[in-house]
Symmetry: C2
Amino acid sequence: MQDQLREAYHFIFEDELLEEISRVGVLKCVVANEKIIEIGEFVKSMPLLLEGAIKILREDHDGNELLLYFLERGDTCAMTLSCCMGHTKSEIRAVTEMDTRLIMIPIEKMEEWTAKYKSWRNFVFESYHTRLSEMLDAIDAVAFLNMDERLLRYLKDKAKINHNETLQVTHQQIAYDLHTSRVVISRLLKKLELQDEIKLNRNNIRLLKL
Amino acid sequence: MQDQLREAYHFIFEDELLEEISRVGVLKCVVANEKIIEIGEFVKSMPLLLEGAIKILREDHDGNELLLYFLERGDTCAMTLSCCMGHTKSEIRAVTEMDTRLIMIPIEKMEEWTAKYKSWRNFVFESYHTRLSEMLDAIDAVAFLNMDERLLRYLKDKAKINHNETLQVTHQQIAYDLHTSRVVISRLLKKLELQDEIKLNRNNIRLLKL
DNA sequence: CAGGTATTGTAACCCTTGTTACTGTGCGGG
DNA sequence: CCCGCACAGTAACAAGGGTTACAATACCTG
């Protein structure tokens, strides 16, 4: 854990803070497609991502999901952060996109470190900043783009996150993330295939253009 | 300014900080429907709202607008805040919804106060928290609601912000805020009138149910 | 290998929303 | 008072995307 922590965060945090993190933080390894945080849950600790990726989802009253954004190494979840500080329930769901290693920080440390470490303050502000930007991207997508454009963007994002231009995913799973139906996704994927953007196979999709 | 500042913020900030704010802050009075911040502009100071209201808009590459949320007394713009810290350009447009008084704080003070005042830190975190929540509401609206539901929600929000159940607004203005066309808004407003939700008049709309 | 299940392809249909076009009406300025 | 303009009402049509239904195909398991 020490090594991975240093590798992922030594550019950002001073040594003293890194040491404190490894002292109070708890290493957690999660396999792919596991729920980490559920909507309505109280959040008792904050995740720092060492390796892997997490997707952040919003849900409406009928249980329909919408993917907001992905988190990668070096990210933390500003929504969680926000919930920690406000002592409120989580407004989002977090699910591992792949096998993931993260360090959980008890929330008591948050306030303490914010006062004590400038690098921590900057990290927190930086996190809020990037997360707000990603929220804007998410809004842009649902407000301004058609489904075929959103789909292509989704596929490219997912390929980037997975470091692999061949995605192991079913049409139904995509439909959940984009909050639409399987039939619509199949229809549009076929259209993208005819446009030579992608190659379709059972349980996987290969991107031909990045 | 002193009085209004104290009135709006004395619950939140300690006296020492209030004094510093009134020393370095610049009072700014803006009439309704004035642009305060434009997309792509660098932000050199941070607004604290004393009185009035501001609407925050997002724009796509074709110049289409979308209302994200309103700011009221006691609010600050987390997006601006975020831009200040990151020294990046504004991602949003801010327009006064009515005559508004605000205090502009030079960004240099931000970092200083964050280290110095606990109440300031809490205020900043609290702002990020509420803004993220409002962004989620905005996403919920565009992703999960039909236009008639969004319209009704918009009218109610606007009535609340203006402290007046009769809105001085044209169908075209609503269409801009909701990123749709005037014809659609007229159609849906008429439907809402038939449902006894509202009463339509030239240049104004009265809400019958709150 | 047979049967069951998950996945994908596709057609037909409908609803919401966007578009175009035209009409009517209230209001202010010359 | 009349003209022009901003605002609103409405019809007709198009497009995007959601829904239902069913067929075809791959894969897994007993």
